[in-house]
Symmetry: C2
Subunit: 121 residues, 2 copies
């Protein structure tokens, strides 16, 4: 297409300022931060995992073993182990083995960090 000569009237503006778009008052969350926060929230967005976290937190010293959880949760033991692994990988629990038992402990502040990030979205 050949280049046109200079028109007699104004060029079409790049943005129509009278359109629907309202101005921004602050910056939105960045894409990497949104992906990071969504990964944490995905780990929490399951009723069984919320119950596991709550049951661990409700124990003395915020620590419980798998045998504390399987019976009240009423799901199969491999499923409990699966959910525990998700919560460890997401940084909400630590695992320590003593004898034949595996003890899971809530990482202090981990839930509050996500809670704070969520409130600031």
């Amino acid at each position: 297409m050949p280049v046109a000569t200079a028109p007699a009237i104004e060029l079409i503006p790049l943005r129509d300022l009278a359109a629907c778009c309202a101005p921004l008052t602050r910056a939105a969350i960045s894409t990497p931060n949104a992906e990071s926060l969504s990964r944490s929230l995905k780990a929490l967005a399951d009723p069984t995992r919320l119950r596991i976290l709550s049951m661990v937190a409700a124990h003395d010293d915020a620590e419980a073993c798998v045998c504390d959880l399987t019976d009240p949760l009423d799901i199969a033991q491999p499923t409990v182990s699966h959910h525990l692994k998700v919560l460890v990988d997401a940084g909400f629990l630590t695992r320590s083995k003593r004898g034949t038992w595996a003890y899971y402990r809530l990482i202090p502040g981990s839930l509050d960090t996500v809670s704070g990030l969520l409130a600031s979205v």
Copy 2:
């Protein structure tokens, strides 16, 4: 099964206090509450939806129309509409149509409510 006569030694205790199980210090979250909270978290646990919420909140009066979102998100328009519907159904946004445009507004306090519930798990 017939009732046994009184044994000479103690019965097997219902719970072995020397086992792995630590005592509870408080009540854990109820199953219905866990399901309810997880539904809210599922709606938030997606990077695109977090960006949408943040972009809406970043606009004047916490309100934006679909045309404000489609271009910066760089995803197809039906996908944006889908995510907006999820956020409306979950109680984080309201929708109001003015002319051909649909305006979405953040429901004040909705994020803080989930944030507070999460911190108290």
